[in-house]
C-alpha cells in the first residue's frame, strides 16, 4: 500500500520533518508534490521512531505546513544507467536536461556506491601521457589515479583540464574505449559552457557524460552530483571496460554545500565550520577511483578545487591532499607572469609515479631526472630569497647559474602552449638540456652512468 502524507510537521532550511510515517527506511527517496502541481524529491536523512527528517533536493522554497503530499519511494537514490548515457547531459541528480528524452536503463545503481575491497584492487602502474611537460615528467599521471588540481579563482585550471582531456593518451591502442565523465558542481554557467564547447571542438563530445549543477542550482543537488557522476563512471569502467577520466569541478563548492547542509541540520561543526565528517565524505568520492581485478576498465579522477585565498592549508585542499594520490598545484605568481600552465612543481606530487615510470614504463632516466629537477629547482628558491636580500650581483657564480636555470626551467619547461602536445621523449630531453646548464657537481641525484649518457656540457651555451 502506498501512503500519501499530507502536509509536514516542521520546515527548517532544506529539511522537512514528517510525523507518523509508516515503515520508513534510512536514506530512502521521497517524492513531494506541491498543491500547485510541481514535484520535488528528497531523501530521508534521520529517523526517530515514526518521525522522519527529509532533505529536499530542490529546497523548501514555497513549501508550507499544509500544501504538500509526500510519497515514500521505498528505495535509496539510484541512477538509471545504460550505454546510451555517453554524449548526454544530466542535471545534478541524474535527470537528462538536453531534451533528448529519457534513458531506458539496463540497470539502476545506488549512487553511494560500495567500497572496493582493497584485495580486489589492481595497483595502478600504466602512465597516461598528457603532453604537458611538467605533468608528464614531474607529476606523472597514472591510469586509475586520483590527481586533483589545486588552483585559485581566476587561474587557468579549466584550460589545463581541457588540455589534459584533449591530449591524454589514456589507452594503449584502442581509442574507442576512452570516455570522459564531467561533473560540474556550483560552477558558473559560462564555465560549464566552456567545457562543453571545448569537448565539442576536440571532437570528444559523444564520449562525454556531463552532470551539471550550476552555481544557482540547489545545493542539495550539488551534494549528489559527484555521486551520480562516479556511479556513471564506475558503470562505464567496470561493466563496459572503458577507461574513464572523471573531471570534477569545483570541489570547494561541493564542500561548501556540505557545510551549508550540515549547519542547517544542526550538526557540530569542525574546522572552519565544515562538518567533522568532511574527510570521510570526500574520501567516499575520491576512493571511487581505481581499477579492479577482472575488469579491463579504469576510473581516473582529476578533481579541480579552488583554494580560498590561495591557502593550501584550508580544510578542503588539506583533506583532499590527504586522500588523493598527489596534487597538481597552480601558482598565482607564475600565472601572473604569463606562464601557462602555471604549475608550481615543488608542492606538486604524484604518489603513484614511482612505480609507473623508469625502464619498461617510460625511460630509465625518468626517475633520476625528475628527482634532480625537483632538487635543483628547490635550490633555486633558496638562491632567489638570498638574491632578494643581497642582490643578484653579489651571488656566487654557481648561484648565478642556478638562478639562470630557474628562469629557463619556468620559461622553457613549465611554460608551453595550450595546443602544444610534447611527447615524453621531448620533455625528458628538454629536462636534460636545462640540467646541462648546471655544473656536474651540482647534480647529486643522478648517478655517473646517467650523467655520462644524457649530460652534455656543450648545450649549456646554446
Amino acid at each position: 500500500m502506498i501512503f500519501e502524507y499530507i502536509g509536514v510537521k516542521e520546515i527548517q532550511g532544506s529539511l522537512i520533518v514528517l510525523d507518523e510515517v509508516e515503515c520508513p527506511s534510512f536514506e530512502e527517496m521521497v517524492e513531494i508534490r506541491l498543491d500547485n502541481g510541481t514535484k520535488r524529491s528528497g531523501r530521508i536523512i534521520r529517523l526517530e521512531g515514526d518521525r522522519a527528517v527529509i532533505q529536499v533536493f530542490e529546497g523548501t522554497k514555497g513549501i508550507s505546513l499544509v500544501n504538500t503530499r509526500t510519497v515514500l519511494k521505498g528505495k535509496p537514490m539510484e541512477l538509471s544507467l545504460a550505454p546510451e548515457i555517453l554524449g548526454r547531459v544530466f542535471n545534478g541528480v541524474g535527470e537528462p536536461i538536453d531534451a533528448l528524452g529519457k534513458i531506458y536503463p539496463t540497470e539502476k545503481n545506488n549512487i553511494n556506491g560500495t567500497p572496493i575491497n582493497p584485495v580486489s584492487r589492481v595497483y595502478p602502474k600504466n602512465y597516461i601521457s598528457t603532453g604537458v611537460s611538467s605533468i608528464d615528467t614531474l607529476i606523472t599521471l597514472i591510469r586509475g589515479q586520483k590527481l586533483p588540481i589545486f588552483s585559485g579563482s581566476g587561474m587557468k585550471h579549466n584550460e589545463l583540464a581541457v588540455q589534459i582531456v584533449r591530449q591524454a593518451n589514456i589507452t594503449d591502442s584502442e581509442e574507442a574505449n576512452f570516455c570522459v565523465v564531467f561533473a560540474a558542481m556550483g560552477v558558473k554557467n559560462d564555465i560549464a559552457d566552456y567545457f562543453r564547447r571545448s569537448f565539442e571542438e576536440s571532437g570528444v563530445l559523444e564520449k562525454v557524460v556531463m552532470f551539471i549543477n550550476l552555481a544557482n542550482d540547489p545545493i542539495i543537488e550539488r551534494i549528489l552530483t559527484p555521486r551520480c557522476a562516479l556511479t556513471a563512471a564506475e558503470y562505464l569502467a567496470f561493466k563496459h571496460n572503458m577507461h574513464v577520466l572523471v573531471i570534477m569541478t569545483d570541489m570547494t563548492a561541493y564542500a561548501e554545500a556540505c557545510r551549508e547542509f550540515s549547519s542547517s541540520n544542526g550538526e557540530i561543526p569542525g574546522r572552519k565550520g565544515f562538518p567533522g565528517y568532511l574527510y570521510s565524505d570526500l574520501a567516499s568520492l575520491y576512493e571511487r577511483a581505481g581499477m579492479i581485478k577482472g575488469s579491463g576498465g579504469s576510473v581516473t579522477q582529476i578533481p579541480i578545487l579552488t583554494m580560498p585565498n590561495d591557502d593550501i592549508t584550508h580544510p578542503v585542499p588539506d583533506l583532499t591532499g590527504y586522500i588523493t594520490e598527489g596534487q597538481i598545484v597552480l601558482d598565482r605568481t607564475l600565472d601572473s607572469s604569463g606562464i601557462y600552465p602555471p604549475v608550481s612543481v615543488l608542492p606538486s606530487l604524484s604518489r603513484l609515479m614511482k612505480d609507473g615510470i623508469g625502464a619498461g614504463y617510460t625511460r630509465e632516466d625518468h626517475s633520476a631526472l625528475s628527482n634532480q629537477l625537483f632538487a635543483s629547482y628547490a635550490k633555486v628558491q633558496d638562491v632567489r630569497s638570498l638574491a632578494s636580500v643581497i642582490g643578484e650581483e653579489e651571488l656566487s657564480s654557481s648561484d648565478k647559474k642556478l638562478l639562470e636555470f630557474g628562469k629557463r626551467f619556468e620559461n622553457e619547461f613549465v611554460k608551453q602552449g595550450f595546443n602544444e602536445n610534447r611527447t615524453l621523449e621531448q620533455s625528458l630531453s628538454l629536462g636534460w638540456k636545462l640540467l646541462s646548464s648546471l655544473p656536474k657537481s651540482e647534480l647529486d641525484r643522478v648517478d655517473n652512468d646517467m650523467l655520462a649518457k644524457y649530460y652534455s656540457e656543450d648545450t649549456a651555451e646554446n
Binding site: F26, T114, I116, G144, S295, Y322, E325
Partner: protein
C-alpha cells in the same frame, strides 16, 4: 539468539534503541535483517545508543537488534599471519570470494579459516599443571613463524586429556584441563579476546635494545627501542606512508602488524603487491610471512576505523605473548582520532579542542601504553613497538592530535615539507625531531656496534646544529663572505645531509643499511671533517679540498660501497690523508 530490541532512531552510523534494554556497555550486537555488526556505546534507562560498523542505508525503525552478550572481540589463532583483515577482523580475501570486488554489507565471515588443517605438536602432557600463558601446543603458521597456543590468562588447571600431535583444525579440542573446582575446560587452537582490553603480562621490562630499521637517520640519530613508541607527523606528501612501508619492510621485529587506518585503497594494494614480492634477507621468505595487514580504507565505514587500531594492537599482543617482538605501524592515527570525533559529534557530546572529544588524550594514551618490552605470563620476553603516523590538519603541528601524541610517544620523527619538496627522503627534520631513547640505548650501541658509535653520532648532530646557526647568517649575507672554517661546516653538513641522512628507498643497497655500515660511514665522514679542519688551519683553501673531490666521494659512499663489501670504507681514511697531504704540499 532471541531478539527483544528494535531500532528506534537512525542517524548515519549511530542507531538508537528505545527503552531500558538488557544490553551492556561495549557489547557487540547485530542490527537489522542483514545483521550489520555494531557495538553499544551509550546506555541510559530510556535509550541505548549503538554504533554500526557498516553502511546503514535502508535500515528501518522496528528492525531487530540482536544481542550477543559479548564485547567486540577477535578470534585469535593460527592463520592470522599473511592475511588481510578489515577494521573488525573480517578477512578481506574471503569477503572478495563471497561478494566480489565491492564489499557488500552484513558479510559475516569468520576471521580464521575453520577448514584449514594445521600441523600441530601438542606439548602438554596429562598431569601437567598449566596456568595462564602456558604453551600447550605449537604449529608452524608460516615458514618462519611458529604459532604457540597459549592458555588464556584467566584459566588454570591440570591436563586431563591431551590429543597426540597431528593435523587439527582451529576449533578441534587438543587439550582438556580440569580446574580447581573440578570443571573441565576444553582448549582448541583458537580463542576470543575483547579488542578493547589489553592482554595481561607478568611485568614490564626496561627497554634497552633498539629496533633496527636500516634507515640511517632513525637508527643513528633518533633510534626507537624495541617496546618503544614513535610518532611520524607530517603534512600530505611528506612521506609518512613511505617511511612506514620502509620500516615494515626492513625493521628487525619478528612480526609486523600494519594498520591502514582511513588511508588509500591503492596504497593497500601496493602493500599487498610489494610485500609479497619482497624477500626478507634473514629468512629468505617473502615478508608477508611475518606480516598481518588491517585495512580500513578511507571510504570504508568510519566506526570500523575506530575499531581497526584496537584490532591491530590485540593481534600484536597475542603474538607478543608467544614471546615475539612485534612492531605495529598505524597509518594514520589522525584518521582514527577523526573517527572518534565523527562518532562523538553524532552523539552530540560537548566538543573540546577543534571539535575533538575531550577523551581524545586518554584514548591516545591508552593505545600507546599498550606498547612495551615485557615478560609474558609464561616467562618469555616479548615486545610491542608502536609507530604511529599523524596527519596534522593544515600541516600544523600544534593541532590536538599531534600535540597529544607527542605527550605519549617518546620518539618524534617530524617530517618536513621543504625537505619533501626538494625530494629529500626520508624527510625527517633533524632539528625538530627527537628520541628520548638515546640515553637508554647508548650502552647497547657502544657494546654491540662500536665503542665510538655514540661519540660519532654526537659529532654528526653537532655539525648539523652548527650549520643551522650558520645558515641564519648565510640567508642574510650569502655564503661567500664566510671564512673557510665556517664554510667547511656548511660543506660537511651538506655531505651529512645528502650522503648520510638522505636515503634512497629504491636503490638496492641503500634501501636497508646495516648498523655496521652506518658506523663506518660516520667514521669516514668525521675523519674527513677532522682532516679538512686541520688542513684549513694549516692554510689549505677549502675550494682546493672541494676540487680534490673528497666531499663528493664521501657523499657517494652509500652508492659506491655495496652492503656486502663495507670494508671498502676502511680504506677511505688513507685516501683522505693522501689527498690532503698532496694539497698541503702544493
Amino acid at each position: 539468539m532471541e531478539c527483544e530490541n528494535a531500532v528506534f532512531g537512525i542517524n548515519g552510523p549511530v542507531i538508537k534503541v528505545k527503552g531500558k534494554t538488557n544490553l551492556s556497555m561495549m557489547e557487540m550486537v547485530y542490527v537489522g535483517n542483514e545483521r550489520l555488526a555494531g557495538e553499544v556505546i551509550r546506555l541510559d534507562d530510556s535509550m541505548t545508543t549503538i554504533q554500526v560498523y557498516e553502511e546503514t542505508t535502508g535500515l528501518r525503525p522496528g528492525d531487530p537488534v540482536y544481542a550477543t552478550g559479548e564485547q567486540l572481540s577477535l578470534l585469535l589463532g593460527p592463520g592470522i599471519l599473511d592475511n588481510i583483515f578489515d577494521g573488525i577482523g573480517r578477512p578481506l580475501k574471503e569477503i572478495e570470494e563471497r561478494c566480489g570486488a565491492f564489499i557488500s554489507r552484513g558479510a559475516s565471515v569468520s576471521s580464521l579459516s575453520a577448514e584449514r588443517e594445521w600441523d600441530v605438536t601438542v606439548t602438554a602432557k596429562v598431569g601437567d599443571t598449566l596456568s595462564g600463558g602456558a604453551v600447550y601446543a605449537t604449529c608452524p603458521e608460516t615458514t618462519i613463524i611458529t604459532h604457540k597456543c597459549i592458555v588464556p590468562p584467566n584459566i588454570c588447571g591440570v591436563v586431563k586429556y591431551a590429543k597426540p600431535s597431528g593435523k587439527y583444525k582451529i576449533h578441534d579440542t587438543v587439550v582438556t584441563l580440569t580446574d580447581q573446582n573440578g570443571n573441565d575446560i576444553d582448549l582448541t587452537l583458537c580463542r576470543q579476546w575483547p579488542i578493547r582490553i589489553s592482554r595481561p603480562i607478568a611485568e614490564r621490562l626496561y627497554a634497552n635494545a633498539p629496533l633496527i630499521t636500516g634507515q640511517r637517520i632513525i637508527d643513528t640519530l633518533f633510534p626507537v627501542a624495541k617496546g618503544g613508541t614513535a610518532a611520524i607527523p607530517g603534512g600530505f606528501g611528506t612521506g609518512k606512508t613511505m617511511t612506514q612501508h620502509q620500516l615494515a619492510k626492513w625493521c628487525d621485529a619478528d612480526i609486523i602488524v600494519y594498520v591502514g587506518c582511513g588511508e588509500r585503497g591503492n596504497e593497500m594494494s601496493q602493500v599487498l603487491e610489494e610485500f609479497s614480492a619482497l624477500i626478507d634477507p634473514k629468512s629468505g621468505r617473502p615478508i608477508t610471512d611475518r606480516t598481518v595487514l588491517i585495512a580500513n580504507t578511507s571510504n570504508m565505514p568510519v566506526a570500523a576505523r575506530e575499531a581497526s587500531i584496537y584490532t591491530g594492537i590485540t593481534m600484536a599482543e597475542y603474538y607478543r605473548d608467544m614471546g615475539y617482538h612485534v612492531a605495529i605501524m598505524a597509518d594514520s592515527t589522525s584518521r582514527w582520532a577523526e573517527a572518534l570525533r565523527e562518532i562523538s559529534g553524532r552523539l552530540e557530546e560537548m566538543p573540546a579542542e577543534e571539535g575533538f572529544p575531550a577523551y581524545l588524550p586518554s584514548r591516545l594514551s591508552e593505545f600507546y601504553e599498550r606498547a612495551g618490552l615485557v615478560r609474558t605470563l609464561n616467562g618469555a620476553t616479548g615486545s610491542i613497538t608502536i609507530i604511529g603516523a599523524v596527519s596534522p590538519q593544515g600541516s600544523d603541528f600544534s593541532e590536538p592530535v599531534t600535540q597529544n601524541t607527542k605527550r605519549f610517544t617518546r620518539c618524534f620523527w617530524a617530517l618536513d615539507k621543504s625537505l619533501a619538496y626538494a625530494r629529500h627522503y626520508p624527510a625527517i627534520n633533524w632539528l625538530t625531531s627527537y628520541s628520548e631513547y638515546g640515553a637508554d640505548l647508548n650502552k647497547w650501541y657502544n657494546d654491540n656496534v662500536g665503542e665510538d658509535f655514540t661519540k660519532l653520532r654526537d659529532r654528526l648532530s653537532l655539525i648539523l646544529q652548527e650549520e643551522a646557526k650558520l645558515m641564519e647568517i648565510v640567508k642574510l649575507i650569502g655564503e661567500d663572505v664566510l671564512p673557510d672554517d665556517q664554510k667547511l661546516v656548511i660543506t660537511m653538513a651538506k655531505v651529512i645531509r645528502v650522503g648520510f641522512l638522505q636515503q634512497n628507498a629504491f636503490h638496492k643497497d641503500d634501501t636497508f643499511v646495516p648498523l655496521e655500515k652506518q658506523l663506518k660511514m660516520m667514521r669516514a665522514i668525521i675523519y674527513l671533517n677532522r682532516a679538512a679542519k686541520s688542513a684549513i688551519a694549516a692554510g689549505v683553501s677549502l675550494s682546493a679540498i672541494i676540487s680534490a673531490g673528497l666531499f663528493d666521494k664521501l657523499t657517494r659512499i652509500k652508492y659506491d660501497v655495496p652492503n656486502d663489501q663495507m670494508d671498502l670504507i676502511d680504506k677511505y681514511p688513507a685516501e683522505i690523508d693522501e689527498a690532503i697531504a698532496s694539497l698541503r704540499a702544493q
